[in-house]
C-alpha cells in the first residue's frame, strides 16, 4: 500500500461551545475518489475548509504528501495551490471571463507568461467542455457551466488533490448531470478527489470509498457496496435509505448514470 497523499489526524474544529467535528482521521490515497456523506450540519464543509486551511482548526494535524501543512510557519498559499477547491455556489470571479478566471491563478500566483497561461487555461476549459465559452462572463453562463469553469480554475493549478464542497447543491436538477459528468471523468483519469455531496448515484458509481459522517464524527467508512448493501451501523442504513428515497426519483428522471 502506498502512502496517502492526504491525511488528517485527530482533526478537530470547535466554534465557542459548539463542537463542529472531533478527532477526524481520514486517509486519501493517490488517485482515489472519496465521497463524504451525512446529514446537514455535521461539519462536512468545515472539514474540507480545515483541510485546505481556509479555516483554522482547534486541534489535530493535516498532512499533504506526508508533510504537515498545519505546522506553524507553513506557507498556506503554497498549500492551497496544491489543494484545489470547488464551492457549492461556484464563486467565480464575476469581473473576469471564463478564460481569465482560469488564467488568473497561473499568471498571478504561478507567474506563468501570458501566452503559456492562456494555452494551459484553454486546455482546462476544453477538459470541462467549455472551450467555446472562454469569452463569456460568469453572468452569461448557466449554473452548470459556471461550476465547470470553477472546476477548470482549480485544475489549472495542477493540484495534488481536489476538494468538492457540495458542487451540485445549488444547481437546477437538469444541470447537475453535466457537472457530475466532468467529475466522473476526472475520477476516471485518477485525479485524487474528496467530495462532499448528497448525490447518492454519483457516490455509488464513482467513489472508491464512502465516508458517512454524523454529528462531527465518522460513523462508518467503506466501499460503496459495503455501505449501501451491508452497512455496519443502523444509522448508516437509515440515512442512506432516507436519502436514496428522497433523491432516487430525481436521479431516475435524469437517467442516473453519467
Amino acid at each position: 500500500m502506498t502512502n496517502p497523499i492526504l491525511e488528517t489526524r485527530n482533526l478537530t474544529k470547535i466554534y465557542g461551545q459548539n463542537v463542529i467535528f472531533k478527532d477526524i482521521n481520514l486517509k486519501v490515497n493517490e488517485g482515489e475518489t472519496i465521497v463524504i456523506i451525512g446529514p446537514s450540519g455535521t461539519g462536512k464543509s468545515t472539514l474540507l475548509r480545515c483541510i485546505n486551511l481556509l479555516t483554522s482548526n482547534n486541534g489535530g494535524q493535516v498532512f499533504l504528501d506526508e508533510k504537515e501543512i498545519t505546522a506553524k510557519g507553513h506557507n498556506e498559499d503554497e498549500v492551497r495551490q496544491q489543494i484545489g477547491m470547488v464551492f457549492q455556489n461556484f464563486l467565480l470571479f464575476n469581473h473576469l471571463t471564463a478564460l481569465d478566471n482560469v488564467m488568473i491563478g497561473l499568471t498571478k500566483v504561478k507567474k506563468m507568461p501570458k501566452d503559456k497561461a492562456k494555452e494551459k487555461a484553454m486546455e482546462e476549459l476544453n477538459r470541462v467542455g467549455l472551450a467555446d465559452r472562454a469569452d463569456h462572463y460568469p453572468g452569461q453562463l448557466s449554473g452548470g457551466q459556471q461550476q465547470r469553469v470553477a472546476i477548470a480554475r482549480a485544475l489549472a493549478m495542477d493540484p495534488r488533490v481536489m476538494l468538492f464542497d457540495e458542487p451540485t447543491s445549488a444547481l437546477d436538477p437538469e444541470l447537475i448531470g453535466e457537472v457530475l459528468g466532468v467529475m466522473a471523468k476526472l475520477a476516471k483519469d485518477r485525479m485524487t478527489m474528496l467530495v462532499v455531496t448528497h448525490e447518492m448515484g454519483f457516490a455509488r458509481e464513482v467513489a472508491d470509498r464512502i465516508v458517512f459522517m454524523e454529528k462531527g464524527s465518522i460513523v462508518e467508512e467503506g466501499s460503496p457496496d459495503d455501505l449501501f448493501y451491508h452497512p455496519k451501523h443502523d444509522r448508516t442504513r437509515e440515512f442512506l435509505w432516507k436519502i436514496t428515497e428522497l433523491y432516487g426519483k430525481k436521479e431516475k428522471e435524469k437517467g442516473a448514470k453519467e
Binding site: E78, N89, F93, H95, G105, Y137, G139, Q140, M157
Partner: protein
Amino acid sequence: MIAFFEFFVRFLPDMLKGAGITILLTAEGLSAGFVLGLLASLARVYGNKFIRGLAVSYIELFRGTPLLMQLFIIYYGLPGLGITFSREWCAFLALGLNSGAYQAEYLRGSLIAIGDGQMMAGRSIGMSRAKTIWYVILPQALRLAIPAWSNEPVSLLKSTAVVFLIAVPELMAKAKSIAAQTYDPIGTYIAVALVYLAMVYLLDAFLRWVERASRIPGFEMEGKKA
C-alpha cells in the same frame, strides 16, 4: 433678459477663470480623497483592531465636523502650532481629507457587498490576501461603488465654494468680487449659479459614461437588467 445676457457675457471670462480653479480644487480633492478613502476603507474592512480603529477615527472625525471648521483649523489653527501652508494647500488638504472620509464609506459599502466568498475563492487557488484584494475584490468593488460614489464629485465640486472664505480665487470668490464691483448681487449670483449648474451637468454626463463603460456583461445590478 438681454441685459442679463450682456452681463453674463461680460463677466464670463472672469467666471471661467474662477471655474477653472474650482475644477482644479475638485479634481485635486477628489484624487487625494480617493487615495485616502481607499486606504481607509481597506483598513476598516480588512485591518486588525488597531488599524481599524485608526481608520474609524479618521472617518468619523472628518464626517462628523463641518468642512468649514476643518478648513479654518488647518488655515488659522495650525499656524499656532508652527505649521503654515499656503491658502491653496490649506484648501487642498481640507477638501482632500474631508472627501476621503466620505469616499471611504462609499467604498466600504461595496467591499462588504463583494463579500467573503470572493476572498475565499481567491485564497483557494493560492492567492495571498493582498493579491485577492487587488486582483479580485477591488475591480468588482470599485465598479459596484460607482453609482453611489458619483454623488461625491458633484457634492465636492459645490463644497469647494467654502474656500473663498480663506481667499482662494475660485468661482465663489469671483462672484463676491463681481457683485461688489457691479452692485448687482442678484444678477451675479444667478450667473454664477448657471456656471455651477453647467459644470455639474457635464460632470454628471461624464460619470454616467464611466458607469456604462465599466459595466461587466451579465453582472448588472439586480432588477436593472438591460
